[in-house]
Subunit: 456 residues, 2 copies
């Protein structure tokens, strides 16, 4: 028989052990985007497999893909209970600029209440939290109130390029009632959250080209349309004075917020000063007219310039009229925008607005739609109850601005929703120097996952 | 007694020698803007001094400035004749993008009728042309019909930041009747030209800054004003739909073209197809409404974007909301625009138009006003006669789009006009990959300078 108390007692008595497990995991520089770290990717996969084996899984396998392998484990000894596909990733972001780190990103260091390391929050800390919860339940709580299939991939930080194919070719193996995704966070250390919406992504590289080669700006300035100027004009036209995106039809399919949803958004605690601080202290906030900041990141689509390049960018001056100019442009999408349609809208905008003095071409990168999941599924209810038990307050239901393509891929390919419950904090420095994980919530996270499975 | 025929005969018999002199000079990577090329700057100055000494100058010196040195030589043995200050520069532009060069920029290579090398046309080829003319006249023609003071600086490509001070502190040394400036070109290989107008230059680096560090575009896209977007909006607003610059007061001091000048402009041969080819085949021309292309580059001011940089510009995608964005912006100025006033106009534009969600700062680089010189001076007449003799057709009098700040500095500080006579061609790829010099005009140039001095 499952004993919640025994499972909880065990993890409370062995905090040092699970912290050491996280430290050992975070010490492996598993940077998926850098070829020179391929051996480290192998070591990280082996480490996850070792942990899974030690937990008493029925089956553990490192499964190849066209890129980095997926680590899979399953425990299916709860015949009448739901089956949960638990998702995590063992890869991390690059660490540059390295000189801004206060301690080595791969020598995990505890300072105060935080563990500093690349991947501490995104998402090795979250991986170890749910693994420790399942391990304790299985080995010291007498079992689990659910069957679990654990899938930990190695390519999330590069856009999960091989995951859709993996899901499609292992549909039977991965058959489940819903998925648990721990790759998320909460707004304040004392306020748990369940993410029920994520924005999608459409990412593009736009080139504007004029003459075949760079020109002398004295000889040709005034008679050759400068591609850098044209690029700026095209980008400037992509937003109107109200901060709305002007691509034709861009908002046509955007699901309108209901009064109930807006009321929910309004209940989410929001501290303007703190929000500015988390945003790196820009002079002031900005955004689409008619919406609150919480709505703007949670429920409204955006168009961002991620990069600009043209001509001479070194020290000093060079009087060149550049022959070409480039922008990286991405859009965060919300239900029910279709990434393919958004690409057509961008192409239509460029066709309408690019002057005949230049040519342009557009390359599309990773694309995925936004998702909204059911807030009253058995998974969501089990999660909400678990979080309220551990934190003492009910969780807020939130939509998040980021994109987790796997959530939409699991919905589309396996046909199931995800319960998105993680414990990162807004100031964890994800993808930035001095990434950290707040350890009190590492332990609360473990207990929350124990309760979550017990509640099923 | 001076013998024109002997001087001409000598250079005709020693073409290989002067070409080799140019090749050796162009092989020195004297890129003034890059600190790592400082030793090469020293080598280039030594090379010039060596050539001057071999010519039989009375005096040769490498004279320090706060930046790269000036090389000076003088021959003053023609007591009743005018004194000409001959101006050149031994520095060159950077070479990036290097992969677009068909041969190494510092391994000068003859292909067909052209010599390919960085600096071949701008202006080591022109330097060697006037030096060879003076050398041949002195050593094989028996003298010169003028006194010459030769000043070859090393900072033209970075805006001659120390030249004004050098001219001011050596006013007596540099006292002259007029200056000969070879840093220019002609429109067609068979049509010589004298430049009587040059545009000025004002060059700036603009930074727009938002948050203190780069942000995750999912978490913050929609509530933080993207500095790259703001930069594009600011740049887009700098031109109106008629191609006019919108900086407040920008055209207030622009000298209006007279009917006579417009008639002169109309007489300059202009072939649209050829002009497009020289401009690197952009889809079509562009420019300020109400003016011809010759007027646009000769007599109208412009504003160009020379470089753009923000965020992630590597391969692939990175969902960053950049904390800052940069543009290199320069303006070609015409009489009577004042570069200082133009800087104020740009600052005023930014103050009026930059949103309160960002901050900006502006750094000014080299600045100089546009100039118009006398078309009927003794120097101009000697030049016109020399060009007609060598090319068989009279030269056109032109205004040029480029900037040669030294011409206005010499006018202002030494009080003399410049005769601007050079032999570059519009398709010489100045400041761009595959710079070249058309060798038949290298030799015609030498003969033209021999005739020019003979005509004085």
């Amino acid at each position: 028989m499952f004993s919640l108390d025994s499972a909880l007692a065990h993890v409370r008595a062995h905090k040092d052990y699970v912290l050491q497990e996280l430290i050992d995991f975070a010490a492996i520089p598993s940077i998926s985007t850098l070829p020179e770290h391929k051996p480290d990717m192998g070591r990280a996969a082996e480490y996850v497999a070792k942990v899974l084996k030690s937990m008493g899984m029925n089956k553990v396998a490192i499964m190849p893909t066209d890129g980095h392998p997926v680590v899979y484990g399953e425990w299916l000894n709860a015949p009448d209970k739901p089956t949960v596909l638990v998702y995590g990733h063992y890869d991390v972001q690059p660490v540059d600029p390295l000189d801004e780190w206060h301690s080595n990103p791969f020598e995990p260091t505890v300072r105060g209440d935080n563990l500093y390391a690349r991947g501490a929050s995104d998402m090795k800390g979250q991986d170890i939290a749910f693994l420790a919860a399942i391990a304790s339940s299985l080995q010291h709580g007498g079992g689990l109130n659910a069957n679990v299939k654990i899938l930990i991939e190695g390519e999330e930080e590069i856009g999960s390029p091989n995951l859709a194919k993996f899901l499609a070719t292992h549909k039977d193996l991965l058959k489940c009632d819903f998925s648990l995704n721990a790759d998320s966070g909460i707004l304040r250390p004392d306020l748990p959250a369940i993410i029920y919406g994520l924005r999608g992504l459409a990412y593009f590289e736009l080139w504007v080209r004029g003459p075949e080669h760079d020109l002398h700006s004295g000889a040709f300035g005034g008679i050759v349309h400068n591609p850098a100027q044209v690029l700026c004009e095209l980008i400037a036209g992509m937003h109107d004075a109200d901060g709305r995106v002007t691509l034709p039809g861009y908002y046509d399919k955007v699901r309108v917020l209901t009064d109930e949803e807006r009321a929910d958004f309004a209940r989410i605690p929001y501290d303007e000063a703190r929000a500015l601080q988390e945003a790196g202290n820009p002079p002031m906030h900005y955004g689409e007219k008619g919406y609150t900041n919480v709505e703007r990141t949670g429920a409204r689509p955006t168009l961002e310039i991620n990069g600009l390049y043209s001509g001479f960018i070194g020290e000093g001056s060079k009087t060149v009229l550049p022959c070409k100019a480039m922008a990286k442009i991405s859009m965060r999408l919300v239900p029910d925008q279709d990434p393919e349609e958004v690409e057509s809208q961008l192409r239509e905008y460029l066709t309408r607005n690019a002057p005949p003095t230049v040519t342009w071409d557009l390359k599309a990168f990773g694309k995925g739609p936004g998702v909204l999941t059911l807030r009253d599924s058995i998974g969501s209810k089990a999660a909400a109850k678990a979080l309220e038990t551990v934190f003492g307050v009910p969780p807020v239901f939130r939509r998040e601005g980021g994109s987790v393509p796997v959530v939409s891929q699991i919905k589309e390919i396996l046909g199931v929703d995800s319960v998105i419950m993680g414990f990162g904090l807004p100031d964890d420095n994800l993808h930035a120097p001095n990434e950290k994980f707040y350890l009190p919530n590492f332990y609360r996270g473990i207990e929350s996952y124990i309760h979550f499975f017990a509640n099923l």
